[in-house]
Symmetry: C2
Subunit: 236 residues, 2 copies
């Protein structure tokens, strides 16, 4: 089996992202703790975020708007202008957070890029993702960079068709079963799941009946790819 290309997710696969949201959420819970128990704040924020995904999509701006709506609702409209200004300032800080690569990422990408076309496939806000990719210093290692609204089987199929990559020779690597593993398996591609230590509840799905590979960290990927190509990995 010869791979034609390897795809990588970005947030929480190549660099830390979820902790930036988690940290802001914690500040948000502290801000509202005078009005409401923490569990209620967390639950309501997640509900409002989920409802708003359809309108606002993924990313920091939508998250800030959801925090503002949650704060207005949970304080019965008593939140002050100055407090809402904090929420927006936190958003700006999130957008400017330094990019911290996960361990092994640079060496692994450099070594794989010699042998395979690498694709970066990430969902979210265009400006935010482009800025993170630029700041990561990794952009030149990828043959194609695809920023998409949602990672569905159709979206993966379109990307692979555009670049003439047969799905059965495509391996996707990422931390989200929902976005990186299931849709790729649906169109006949291979997928490696590398769990990150925090998963946003929205990305948690049941993968019952779906077969995929799992690695502990991205440092194990080059050896795995060699074994896969030599036929030493059990078939999915």
């Amino acid at each position: 089996m010869r791979l034609a290309a390897i795809g990588f997710d970005a947030d929480d696969t190549l660099w830390h992202n979820e902790p930036i949201f988690a940290m802001t959420e914690q500040q948000f819970e502290e801000l509202l703790s005078a009005y409401c128990p923490v569990e209620e704040i967390r639950r309501r924020l997640f509900e409002i975020e989920t409802r708003n995904l359809h309108h606002f999509g993924y990313g920091v701006k939508g998250f800030v708007l959801s925090m503002i709506e949650t704060a207005i609702e949970l304080t019965g409209g008593h939140i002050t202008g100055a407090e809402i200004q904090h929420l927006i300032d936190w958003g700006r800080q999130m957008l400017e957070s330094p990019i911290e690569l996960l361990p092994h990422v640079e060496t692994v990408l450099h070594s794989l890029a010699v042998h395979y076309p690498l694709l970066l496939i990430t969902k979210g806000d265009l400006l935010d993702q482009e800025s993170k990719i630029a700041r990561s210093g990794l952009a030149d290692l990828f043959t194609h960079i695809e920023i998409v609204v949602e990672k569905t089987p159709q979206v993966y199929a379109r990307i692979l068709a555009r670049h003439h990559i047969p799905p059965e020779q495509f391996l996707m690597v990422g931390n989200s079963l929902r976005s990186d593993v299931l849709p790729v398996r649906t169109i006949g591609g291979l997928a490696v799941h590398i769990p990150y230590r925090i998963t946003w509840p929205h990305e948690v799905v049941s993968a019952e009946g779906i077969t995929y590979f799992t690695l502990d960290h991205i440092g194990e990927l080059p050896a795995f790819v060699r074994r896969l190509e030599r036929g030493e990995v059990e078939d999915l």
Copy 2:
């Protein structure tokens, strides 16, 4: 001269967009009119929008966040939660506004698509622009759809290179001198300016010393393209 492809801007070139922002801005001015003269509101909102472009990019979500910041500042923090909720609700309404095509757009695109690859090149928010393109019913007429953060000469050069289009055989059509005309002329392409009746001040630039074509409306485009290819249009 044979054109290799024709590019189109979307907002205010193919469909009405600026009036949706203008209408919301008017509601915003009414909301704050108790606190501040209208000219001051307008000026400060534009300043805050311009400052935020770097963080939030173009599009409705960034506009809503800028309205919220402006409202907090101009009311000295006295704006209520309920009023801020209005601003977010207006944003959701903007995102759901029906797409109204400009006159002639459908027939012009249908007739040109028979002879040329058509590109849609639009800047802004990924989710918002994809949703508008889908709702426009025009997506199938375009060979390629490119949603970008900013329309710079480099961005146009990258798009044309990716699709093997020589810049000197590329014609871009749009309502913004800043985004559709100047950057394309910079890389040696041709550009047709079709002014829209409102222009967001951010897109107003001086085009002194830059040559380009101007049409009154998009209905004139097919005849113009014919004359261009026959060499009946004076050289730029």
